[in-house]
């Protein structure tokens, strides 16, 4: 059971074993216990944080429920995005169509909440029952005077990535419709940051200190009117490349706006992102300000990192996250903490991402695309990891195996971006890896230890457990 599915042989590799060429962005094999989500999920993830828009899920109730307020995509103002709106299609709609239901719902929502725009997500059956979502959206938009944007997100269309594309298309239809007067030259849009735990505010603060104006957030703490004038920005910053690179490419094509791929995770990548911006604007004073900022921030967090590193040195980690870009940052961030990555994988990485990961990781590191629980737990055991970094479905699995966990996905509750985020990450990882509870878990107890290094010996010897690390 735990062998890699034969059909998946081309989705698993090891670093240092020659050409890594993973087959990716495939639908999961029928019958596998996949960790993967669908097109709808991808669209919803990207658009959901736009806080002054209506997000109406057109379909049966489930899809709306499972995406209702599940991520802390924080807003500094309106919180319309945190309500769950659904047309709740019933049997009669499947037979007679749901267009009227959709139209009435939109009319009611727009009248009551006066949103700046409405997104309509078409879920699995909408196309099959023949609803013309585009036509309804057009009619309502004409009547109400706000953009009503259909998002083609039927789940069967493919993986999450396909949904990202649908979301980017929806965003593209907004960009270019606002007035760009007054936008300074040193200005950016933030793409692919969803303001989990308030992270985008950290980045905005850095940019403010550098003298860079943020035009639009795409989409964390996002506002429709900002997005409409996003084409006026001087530069697009793309983080979480899986979801919004396409949008950046389209913006470059349509408006000539250059973009930079960035990561705000880890000290190196965060600093590189800020320097990249300063260099782009070719402003020596901004570069000076950036240097000062980076130096100051790093000086504040380094003591924390050093302290955590002392406790974490030599530990082994497994990473399984949504996007490969994030995985790359995590490998580096863990290295800074003295933690070796033994397994790394993602749901949506590209062949190129995986080649880069293979170069980055130590030889022997297992690299997987679209993994499944059996495979992950097998590798977790054989690679004897101390820490797992993943999302909601991986957490209980790791815990069952007596492995520490850090949520680097939708359910993170402390900001992990920025320099301060690296300190938070270090603390989170240490708190879980060094918790005294592992000594009671059978796996660690059997091994007579609760980790791989010296401090666990103390625990095994029955030493005081209040300060294990």
């Amino acid at each position: 059971m735990t062998e890699v599915l034969a059909a998946r042989a081309r989705q698993v590799a090891r670093a240092g074993t020659g050409g890594v060429d993973l087959d990716c962005d495939r639908q999961s094999t029928s019958g596998s216990v996949s960790q993967r989500a669908c097109t709808f999920c991808g669209s919803r993830v990207v658009l959901y944080p736009i806080a002054d828009a209506i997000h109406l899920v057109h379909g049966p109730i489930g899809c709306a429920v499972y995406t209702w307020d599940i991520r802390g995509a924080l807003s500094s103002g309106p919180e319309l995005h945190r309500l769950s709106f659904s047309t709740d299609l019933r049997e009669r709609h499947v037979v007679f169509g749901g267009e009227r239901q959709l139209e009435e719902s939109l009319d009611e929502l727009i009248a009551r909440h006066s949103p700046r725009a409405a997104f309509v997500y078409a879920t699995c059956i909408v196309g099959v029952i023949g609803d013309d979502v585009d036509a309804v959206c057009r009619a309502v938009s004409e009547r109400t005077g706000i953009p009503v944007i259909p998002v083609r997100s039927e789940g069967f269309q493919g993986s999450k990535r396909k949904g990202y594309d649908a979301a980017c298309e929806a965003l593209m239809s907004l960009v270019g419709t606002g007035d760009t007067a007054g936008i300074p030259r040193h200005s950016v849009n933030l793409l692919g940051d969803f303001n989990l735990a308030g992270e985008i505010w950290i980045i905005q603060e850095y940019l403010r200190r550098m003298g860079v104006t943020v035009v639009a957030n795409l989409t964390g703490d996002g506002r429709v009117d900002d997005i409409r004038r996003a084409h006026g920005a001087g530069l697009n910053l793309v983080q979480c490349s899986g979801s919004t690179t396409r949008l950046a490419q389209q913006l470059r094509q349509a408006y000539g706006t250059p973009f930079q791929k960035v990561s705000y995770f880890g000290l190196d990548d965060m600093a590189a992102a800020l320097y990249g911006i300063a260099e782009h604007f070719k402003d020596p004073e901004m570069l000076d300000r950036t240097r000062a900022l980076v130096a100051e921030e790093i000086a504040t967090v380094l003591p924390v990192i050093d302290e955590c590193r002392a406790d974490l040195e030599g530990k082994r980690a497994a990473i399984y996250v949504g996007g490969a870009f994030k995985a790359i940052s995590l490998v580096k961030a863990l290295r800074l903490l003295g933690v070796r990555t033994a397994l790394v994988g993602s749901q949506t990485g590209t062949a190129e991402d995986y080649r880069y990961l293979a170069e980055l990781c130590d030889p022997g590191t297992v690299i997987v695309d679209d993994s499944n629980p059996a495979e992950l737990s097998q590798f977790m055991a054989t690679e004897d990891v101390d820490l797992f970094i993943g999302g909601v479905k991986e957490r209980p699995m790791a815990y069952k195996m007596g492995v520490a966990f850090c949520d680097h996905n939708h359910e993170r509750k402390v900001p992990l971006e920025g320099f301060v985020g690296m300190a938070n990450f270090a603390r989170e990882v240490r708190a879980s890896v060094c918790s005294p509870v592992w000594q009671f878990t059978p796996r660690r107890a059997r091994a007579g230890r609760s980790g791989t290094t010296a401090h666990t010996g103390r625990a095994a010897a029955g030493a005081a457990i209040e300060v294990m690390c």
Binding site: C41, G62, Y66, D88, V94, T123, G158
Partner: protein, 461 residues
């Protein structure tokens, strides 16, 4: 989010806001986890299965294993037969379950896949090993709710395995009693079994997620945990004296199916939440050959003692209750028994019976209560704005309302996404009632402490 709800209630026909239900497949998936060595199987897009597993994991804090057909564009046009055939092949060669429980999704239902026919085809092609089982339930997401999905999968178990059995007893001399526990936590299933065993009967619960969704730490990720109703137990459902279906929505179809297939009579009961419903549960067990011993009497006595101790804190307390219909009705009765006034009673699950039952339970209080079947939490919030309450009972989705209106909130039902321990401690039975009373009283008294001015803040309450 908290101030987006206007007070005036307007008639709504098309739109669902902040639902108090979800789709059928997740209930079917949860039920299927209650069979030993069963792999639940979602015939639809991969996203559905991923959502259902994540959602169940958030409540139970356990790994949830289920496979999916991973529909593609082609399947949506030409049907999902090839996906299901390949899926079953993958499942049996890779994950080696004893049984696969297939449920449909809105997509496979809409395109009209004929599951029995496809499963038959899989048998013919020997994709399904001879010793293995595949059962299925139709769970269209556009009708019913997650509770109905649970009921449909529970019924599918009975339909697939129950047969008439003449010689009733086996397994010692104790009489067998089947219990369909409803969409409840593993802790509750454990508690039901304990109570039934305490009467001297031999209970067979199906489904039974205890030992699956509350599995202990073993240091391994056990793909199939030790718990769950065994296939042998399902094949022996016909041995029972009776089948107790607990909760009309979640358990009636399964109890009816056992009766249809094996002749074992059904007894339909409310979910045993609170004192009256637990009394009725035990009375039925007694009527079916169980004996209520001194231990159970004492257990009940302790509950009675507690509610006497706290009655003055609960009397007249206005409460709003929402969630799944079987839970809400049983909680409404319990609150009534405690002298509280259920002012708003609401479920998202369809079914006319809900309003009628709630009205009956509330009796002369009914005219002064809002009772809503197939409604949502946006409406509940509006009701509460118009007629405030002292306490809110329901799943985690009540927390936004509780915060906006500053109401003490006791989490009960499914899903609970923001607290832990609920799947380990029962809500059902006398023990569950003790826990409920204690939590409700704590919530009310904590509030009184919080709001008391210094000079009225008391040590002894």
């Amino acid at each position: 989010m908290l101030d987006h709800t206007p007070t005036p209630v307007m008639e709504r026909t098309a739109l669902r806001i902040n639902p108090a239900k979800t789709c059928q497949p997740i209930g079917a998936l949860y039920a299927a986890l209650g069979i030993h060595r069963c792999l639940p199987y979602s015939h639809g897009s991969q996203g559905c299965c991923s959502y259902h597993r994540s959602h169940l994991t958030r409540h139970f804090r356990e790994p949830v294993m289920a496979a999916t057909s991973s529909f593609t564009e082609g399947a949506s046009v030409f049907g999902g037969q090839p996906n299901l055939l390949q899926g079953l092949a993958t499942v049996f060669t890779t994950y080696d379950p004893d049984i696969v429980a297939v449920h449909t999704t809105c997509l496979s239902e809409t395109i009209g896949d004929d599951i029995p026919q496809i499963v038959g085809e899989a048998r013919r092609q020997e994709i399904i090993p001879a010793s293995k089982h595949v059962i299925h339930a139709n769970t269209p997401s556009y009708s019913g709710s997650h509770v109905v999905g649970f009921a449909n999968m529970a019924a599918a178990m009975a339909k697939a395995f129950a047969t008439p059995i003449e010689s009733k007893k086996r397994g010692g001399d104790r009489a067998q009693i089947n219990i369909v526990p409803g969409f409840v936590d593993p802790s509750d299933m454990r508690e039901l079994r304990r109570l039934a065993e305490a009467t001297g009967l031999r209970p067979v619960l199906f489904p039974d997620t205890s030992g699956v969704m509350d599995a202990p730490q073993t240091g391994h990720h056990q793909f199939y945990p030790d718990g769950g109703t065994t296939i042998e137990q399902l094949q022996n459902l016909g041995r029972a004296e009776a089948t107790l279906g607990l909760g009309y929505w979640a358990s009636r179809p399964a109890a009816v199916a056992v009766e249809d297939k094996s002749g074992v009579p059904r007894e339909l009961l409310d979910l045993p939440i609170g004192i009256s419903a637990t009394d009725r549960f035990l009375q039925v067990l007694a009527r079916r050959g169980g004996a209520i011993g001194a231990d159970l009497e004492a257990e009940r006595g302790r509950l009675v003692d507690l509610i006497v101790d706290v009655q003055q804190h609960l009397h007249g307390v206005k409460v709003a209750i929402f969630g799944d219909p079987d839970h809400v009705l049983a909680l409404t009765e319990f609150c009534r028994d405690l002298g509280m006034h259920p002012v708003h009673v609401l479920t998202g699950t369809p079914g006319k019976r809900f309003v009628a039952e709630a009205t009956r339970i509330l009796g002369d209080k009914a005219p002064h209560s809002n009772i809503g079947g197939e409604k949502d939490l946006f409406l509940l919030h509006q009701w509460i704005k118009n007629e405030p309450v002292d306490l809110l009972l329901g799943n985690s989705y009540g927390k936004h309302i509780a915060r906006a209106e500053d109401i003490p909130f006791v989490r009960v039902g499914w899903p609970i996404l923001d607290r832990a321990g609920h799947s380990l401690l029962p809500t059902l039975g006398y023990a569950g009632a003790i826990r409920l009373v204690s939590r409700m009283t704590d919530a009310l008294l904590d509030r009184r402490d919080r709001d008391a001015p210094d000079h009225e803040f008391e040590l002894v309450m």
